[in-house]
Symmetry: C2
Subunit: 332 residues, 2 copies
């Protein structure tokens, strides 16, 4: 069983995924493109993945057979496992717990040749719906406290399969990222009695220099202090702490803006590797006045990303105002 371990100084939790059992010889220093060949995510190869936990289809079909538009399946090599109790243990001064959780793959299209940023709008909408549906379903398991939804696009960003997909990990702990955001935004709220994200949106709409694109419900900005060149945040204009609380109109408008900003990125830097992570409130949380759900899209431009990874300290050679201008002016 995998293990969750806590850094005793920083309080940062790490998954030790023993089952993935990497030995030194598995780390060939290879930085080429994602491999082609047989693809377990393609239509027709449903039997090669674990059984689906969710699927959308516009036609009659039986589970785990072709005809789907989107499938969600457990990861074949999960970082966490779904069965077992959540035993917490000490080991001298260290803390650990069983690696209980879920690790799922959202297969965004049956077609191998479709690129996420250019998915037809109905497919993109399916993806955003699938995130919601899995968040709602996984919240029923009391062992889980958070679901991290993320995408690795391109090998440099950690993608091991070329076929367009995103992932989610249901966790029995709150990841440090979300703990820090909840704390930071709460401190601001105590002081100002306003949501810091709402204030950011207000200021960005007034200043305009960091706006990438917007519509009635959503704003995409390059953040004031970005870790990475061309980093973007996708923020709902109306205050809401939970992704799952979006209405139909908001889903439609998110679909449009999410595609648009990723296509703008692609026009600026062709096939840029990137990660995005959904930041939303913990499972079963009441609505929070101080926290505001959003996506963070972080391009992974390897030539300049370096010791940042080891130190948590970032040097960014592209001011976000410049990046926003390039992104705004990209011809779609």
């Amino acid at each position: 069983m995998p293990e969750l371990r806590k850094d005793p100084i920083l309080g940062r939790w790490i998954i030790i995924a023993k089952e993935r059992g990497k030995r030194p010889t598995d780390f060939i220093v290879d930085r080429g493109d994602v491999k082609g060949g047989f693809c377990p995510l393609c239509s027709g190869n449903e039997k090669t993945t674990p059984a689906e936990v969710l699927s959308y289809s516009s036609q009659e079909r039986s589970p785990n057979s072709p005809g789907w538009d989107l499938r969600v399946v457990p990861n074949k090599y999960p970082a966490l496992v779904i069965e077992g109790n959540l035993d917490k243990m000490g080991e001298g001064l260290y803390d650990k717990m069983n690696g209980i959780g879920a690790h799922e793959v959202i297969i965004e299209t049956p077609r191998h040749d479709e690129v996420f940023a250019y998915l037809p709008q109905n497919r993109m909408l399916n993806v955003l719906h699938a995130y919601r549906d899995r968040l709602i379903d996984l919240a029923h398991d009391p062992r889980f406290r958070y679901v991290m939804v993320f995408k690795n696009h391109g090998k440099a960003a950690g993608a091991s399969l070329e076929h367009s997909h995103s992932q989610l990990i249901a966790l029995p702990i709150l990841p440090r990222m979300i703990v820090s955001e909840l704390q930071g935004s709460k401190i601001y709220y105590k002081y100002k009695e306003r949501c810091i994200f709402c204030d950011i949106i207000y200021q960005e709409l007034k200043e305009k220099s960091r706006i990438v694109c917007e519509n009635e419900e959503f704003l995409v900005i390059t953040p004031f202090a970005p870790r990475s060149p061309f980093e973007m945040w996708v923020l709902p204009k109306r205050h809401s702490s939970a992704y799952i609380s979006m209405n139909d109109n908001q889903f439609t408008l998110l679909t449009a803006i999410f595609s648009e900003c990723l296509r703008r990125l692609d026009k600026c830097i062709a096939n840029a590797p990137y990660n995005f992570v959904l930041h939303t409130s913990p499972l079963r949380s009441q609505p929070l006045d101080h926290f505001h759900w959003h996506f963070e899209i972080v391009p992974k431009l390897t030539q300049i990303a370096g010791f940042e990874w080891g130190s948590g300290f970032y040097i960014n050679p592209t001011p976000p105002e410049d990046a926003a201008k390039y992104l705004r002016e990209a011809e779609l």
Copy 2:
């Protein structure tokens, strides 16, 4: 002038190095090896670097000419600049300050063909002395609060030059990494009245399973909750919060152990890219009972490092006990 900007939610400072002015076309997605050709760090090319701020030599020479064993020069493309006042400014709800600081390159050898882990012991000792000498010198500038000493080895770890070198950045702020460590270790100290790092050393020496190598003064372990496979921490066995307080014997023993653990890593994963960062107390700090200086060595094995960079959440496929065993058993 570069700018330091603070993320308003997380309190994380970022350097916006405008002078490095990257446009979209500068981000060619290229992951090959570090380029060869003309090397500004080689002996004979002293005039192509900014004038040296420190050098060691076993023979008579004039500054910025051949005959040196080690040189420290300002970075030609600095992330921060040395001249100017430390003006702090608000911009609506955001905080920023002038990008005042120093950014220096420690050229570890005049020879292009020498690899850091295999440097002769006298050269390695020079490198470790140079860190100390620059830390002491830069502490005289009251604008600086911290000096981050680090190395990027291999292109995947951010090295832009092949010639063996490390870098330092003198900062007018405390980086988040060190703030978090100081806070975390202080909480433990208040509770236990003991240094958490000393307790870790005690436990690791007893358990043995995460020991990579040790000598009279130093211990190298794979940490209990490592971000990366084969991550290593180099810890002085005796409590000390400041790197600069080492005595001669300790420098000699650090030289030996630092080389040894990097050679062990290289034997396990040939030419693994890695970053290391020196974690030491802030400049002009009094000795701290709760903090313990150390090096953190983080291999950058790109196939598995992915969304961690964007989310601060880590999945590690190699238990540190396995990594320590491989490292211990590597034949040197």
